[in-house]
């Protein structure tokens, strides 16, 4: 019987303490974690640990060589999901979900709602630089350019030419963790 009672006391925590914890979680998810992920990605370290107040956050690569996940745009809509995960008291865990989701790649997303047309000469394996035009989304007759978010190699097309796409939709993956041997060798 002692267990339930100790649990009850935990539930009836001081509101101020609760508020402080919530604020700490928000700070973690909004400020700290994105910065840490970027840092981990940039350094090539295998693990990072940060302590703040009573919290400890550890980020670890899911094994193997450098794996990164970046988007062409910071999608605000993804933040609530992250927060929902972290609110279940496993902030570090939630982040590792994100990194596992896709390896060594970034995604070019749609700049508008409309009909997608890839660049005619766009082929998988072609080398692109950040800002290169990959295609366009026709929004009421006006072509909105789809551009490569990073330097890399064109991967998979996630939609077909002529498909209707929405704003922010994933269109083409850009691989950037590819071995240097494909450098300059064109489509493979």
């Amino acid at each position: 019987m002692s267990e339930p009672s100790s649990r009850d006391t935990r539930l009836e925590r001081d509101p101020a303490e609760r508020a402080a914890d919530h604020a700490a979680i928000d700070r973690l998810t909004d400020e700290l974690l994105p910065a840490l992920i970027a840092k981990l990605g940039a350094t090539g370290l295998g693990e990072l640990e940060v302590r703040e107040g009573a919290w400890r956050v550890r980020l670890r690569r899911p094994g193997g060589p450098a794996t990164r996940d970046r988007r062409s745009s910071d999608r605000a809509a993804e933040r609530p999901t992250e927060r929902a995960h972290s609110a279940s008291s496993r902030p570090a865990h939630a982040v590792s979900h994100g990194t596992v989701r896709s390896d060594s790649r970034s995604v070019a997303t749609s700049p508008a709602v409309g009909i997608y047309q890839p660049r005619k000469d766009l082929t998988a394996g072609a080398r692109v630089r950040a800002g290169d035009r990959l295609g366009a989304v026709d929004m009421l007759g006006v072509a909105q350019e789809v551009v490569a978010p990073i330097d890399g190699v064109v991967g998979t097309s996630l939609v077909e030419a002529g498909d209707a796409v929405e704003y922010g939709q994933d269109l083409v993956t850009i691989e950037f963790g590819v071995p240097t041997s494909t450098n300059g060798s064109g489509p493979s």
Partner: protein, 456 residues
């Protein structure tokens, strides 16, 4: 009727339109911005499409994005809701040019009523008394000062486009006028994409009474009674009720009949609202027409039993009204409380954040139209309306009693709302006696209402 409707709005009105589409058996697509991905209308939609980023200029206010979304999802009509593109005649025209139907007045009708000054002239010619105002739009500050001098202070600076109190200021001196013109222009530009302003004579003790009309394509029109929207702060309505406690039944009937006769004669089409100021003597002056569904339409639905959104869709689809004035019964009294994310004790500062717990009140004569749910993140990009509580009773006293109970029962934890000020108003004699005037809340200050309620 339409096959599939694009809902080009957000929040509670997107939900309201979604429900209307379902009631009519019409498919719908909810168009949303990235900030609304986790919203209730998107979650409940049969189909949803992201049209742009959080910034309204690039999503809900982007005509190309909205129309493109309608085309790629195979819609044949667009419902604009209120605000955003709902009264933009240019948008309505482009919608029609793409073979889609704009759910609202046709573009040529919107154009006829687009200028507020022009509309006053037009409806004035069809028998509505109008309030003195500037001749056309204000060309520059010099023109504004000259016109204000001619009309006589105090005057109200109003934007030609839009509504909702944005870009609107009451001024009592030339100096005040000079200082607000720039702010009004930039507010109007930001909210409606149009910075033209005009002036209107300000009546110090006035009530805001508006008449709801519905007119079909064949020139058949009815009125659905009036709503009293005198409880305002900074020209934003916060409580609306019907019937108005300010006018006798005979005066109300006269006002409503004059209004519907004038708009039918002027060639209006679809649902619309004619706004009037009523002075201390009970004289009324037409001020403007709203060519859209309004936030406060449920008040009218409660006393007439009609569904205004499906009516709006039917008219836009070319169906005849199918009812005459004699078919419309007015029953009881309804009051709407706008639940806003704002802090009444802190100068109505707007708020955003996570709704930690939400519970909607219920019971006889209680309706809650809201897009809230427990865990919802209220985004900071849009207006502060969280929902509308509508109460109905066979008489005003019963409606007020039900309103008290419902406001007490409503739970919105995690966000500061204006529920306190509603409760304070329901405890104030001025409201209970039906004597609220449009500037009372601003003049007396909400703090005074809150303090008075706390003493009771």
């Amino acid at each position: 009727m339409f096959r599939k409707v694009l809902i080009a709005n957000r929040g509670e009105i997107a939900l309201r339109i979604l429900r209307a589409c379902r009631a009519l058996g019409v498919d719908s697509v909810v168009a949303y911005s990235e900030a609304d991905r986790e919203s209730l209308p998107v979650g409940l939609a049969d189909e949803a499409i992201c049209i742009g980023p959080a910034e309204a200029q690039r999503s809900y206010l982007s005509a190309p994005a909205v129309i493109s979304a309608a085309l790629v999802t195979g819609c044949d009509a667009i419902h604009p809701g209120y605000g955003f593109l709902s009264e933009d005649e240019g948008f309505a025209e482009v919608v029609a040019a793409h073979g889609l139907t704009f759910i609202g007045p046709p573009a040529n009708v919107l154009e006829r009523f687009a200028s507020k000054a022009g509309t006053r002239q037009l409806l004035g010619a069809h028998g509505l008394p109008t309030i003195p105002g500037s001749e056309g739009m204000l060309r520059d500050d010099q023109h504004a000062l000259a016109e204000a001098e001619r009309i006589g202070y105090p005057v109200l600076v109003k934007p030609s486009a839009g509504g909702g109190g944005k870009g609107m200021r009451m001024v009592r001196t030339p100096r005040e006028l000079e200082s607000v013109l720039k702010v009004c222009r930039s507010e109007a530009k930001a909210a409606f994409g149009d910075d033209s302003l005009y002036l209107e004579k300000w009546l110090d003790e006035n009530r805001h009474v508006e008449v709801q009309v519905a007119v079909d394509r064949y020139g058949h029109g009815v009125h659905l009674g009036e709503r009293d929207c005198s409880v305002q702060r900074r020209h934003q309505k916060i409580i609306e009720e019907s019937p108005t406690p300010a006018l006798s039944p005979a005066a109300r009937a006269e006002l409503a009949e004059k209004a519907v006769r004038a708009v039918v004669a002027a060639g209006y089409e679809n649902v619309g609202t004619l706004e009037f100021l009523v002075d201390a003597q009970g004289d009324f002056y037409f001020i403007e027409i709203n060519c859209r569904i309004q936030v406060e339409h449920p008040v009218t639905e409660a006393v007439t039993g009609l569904d205004l959104v499906t009516m709006q869709m039917r008219i836009a689809a070319g169906e005849p009204l199918g009812i005459t004035q004699a078919d419309i019964d007015f029953d009881g009294h309804a009051i709407e409380f706008r639940i806003n994310a704002e802090d009444a004790s802190n100068d109505f500062r707007p708020g955003a954040g996570t709704v930690e717990r939400y519970h909607a009140p219920g019971g006889p004569g209680v309706r809650m139209d809201s897009h809230l749910f427990t865990g919802y993140d209220v985004p900071p990009y849009y207006d502060s309306l969280l929902g509308k509580l509508i109460v109905w009773g066979p008489d005003r006293a019963t409606a007020i009693a039900r309103g008290r109970v419902a406001l007490e029962e409503l739970v919105v934890d995690g966000i500061t709302t204006n529920v306190d000020i509603h409760q304070a108003l329901l405890a104030s004699e001025t409201f209970l006696e039906g004597r609220m005037t449009t500037n009372l809340l601003d003049r007396v200050g909400s703090a005074a209402f809150l303090a008075a309620a706390a003493r009771v």
